[in-house]
């Protein structure tokens, strides 16, 4: 048990160095909106999703309705649906631990779990106990979430104690999407999804007012993607 915690600490160290400053940035932004520090903690505990929480700051400020919150979150995290495929057979945790690992599957937890599983099967194929592996996956997820919650809380506390010039801190969100665009391109090696999105976004911005951009452009994108799929299955387009 102690040895698995020690090795989990070592594996999750890069996540620690990322989650603490990212969580702090989120906490500072939320505190800047006038929310008490514990709301940042609660969001880290119950939501535990970087992009969604940064998006939440804007949605809270706009006093968005629950339908909009749910739709935005579903679309924002839609990338998880495909990531999870690689883990279906490798998720060894059982019972409530399994539920917790699925709840805590952030981008970073996914990449640690998949990378760790791959390296373990190579280096140590005989000593592969599913129970130990499941326990280990649970510890990794819990450590990652504790780093995130600490970051969120510390940032919010700092923001409520001292005044901090947060001008430009909200750039974390476009920076995150830029990174995700690159990662998605590396994963799919296809240009057409981006071309469709670009056309839909620009035409929506030109034709409609910019506040309703997201829902309209997503609907258009979905329609064009479905059209592309139909053309591909009929063999008209490669």
């Amino acid at each position: 048990m102690t040895t698995s915690i020690n090795s989990a600490l070592k594996i999750t160290l890069p996540v620690l160095f990322g989650y603490i400053p990212m969580g702090m940035a989120f906490g500072l932004l939320l505190a800047d909106q006038g929310y008490a520090w514990y709301w940042a903690t609660l969001m880290g505990v119950f939501i535990f999703a970087g992009a969604a929480q940064f998006m939440a700051v804007g949605l809270l400020a706009a006093h968005a309705g629950m339908f909009e919150v749910a739709m935005t979150t579903l679309l924002l995290n839609s990338r998880h649906i495909f990531y999870g495929l690689s883990l279906i057979h490798n998720l060894k945790a059982k019972g409530w631990r399994r539920f917790y690992v699925i709840f805590g599957l952030t981008d970073e937890t996914y990449s640690l779990l998949t990378a760790h599983h791959a390296s373990r099967s190579f280096t140590n194929p005989t000593n592969q106990n599913d129970n130990d592996e499941g326990q280990f996956q649970f510890i990794i997820t819990a450590l990652n979430q504790s780093y995130w919650v600490i970051g969120c809380t510390v940032g919010a506390l700092l923001g409520s104690i001292i005044t901090f010039d947060t001008t430009g801190l909200d750039f974390t969100l476009p920076a995150l999407f830029m990174v995700l665009v690159i990662e998605q391109y590396k994963a799919t090696k296809k240009v057409f999804p981006f071309a469709i999105a670009l056309v839909c976004a620009v035409s929506t911005l030109v034709l409609f007012d910019s506040s309703s951009m997201l829902l309209i452009s997503i609907t258009l994108t979905l329609a064009l993607l479905l059209g592309t799929q139909q053309l591909q299955t009929k063999g008209i387009m490669k």
Partner: protein, 111 residues
């Protein structure tokens, strides 16, 4: 008090929606029966959505006025270069955001 109820509902809604997307592959794909349309959307909707969200974030920049958008272009370029070099998402984001904050807060005009 109304605001407290609102934020509690907000956190629950966002938490459940996030959980839904994380649990979806384990529910939808755990057995066979992967519908080709679902697989297609699962693969190609996320890249499109990520670009839409990126554009959504920078749509309110005054692109054609004065020096509008220069800071954004510089900082996003740094994110791209950093990500292609190190491929560490958190490093790329923090570098780009740090630079953007410095640009916005006029740190460089002191020199």
């Amino acid at each position: 008090m109304g605001n407290t109820l609102y934020i509690i509902l907000f956190i629950l809604t966002m938490g459940l929606a996030t959980l839904a997307t994380r649990a979806a592959p384990f529910i939808l794909f755990s057995k066979q029966g992967e519908h080709p349309l679902l697989v297609f959307l699962g693969r190609y909707l996320p890249p499109a959505i990520m670009l839409l969200l990126l554009i959504y974030c920078v749509k309110d920049v005054n692109w054609f006025v004065d020096k509008g958008g220069v800071n954004e272009i510089i900082a996003l370029s740094v994110v791209v270069v950093a990500h292609l070099l190190f491929r560490n998402a958190l490093v790329s984001i923090l570098l780009g955001t740090g630079l953007y904050m410095a640009l916005k807060q006029g740190v460089f005009s002191l020199f």
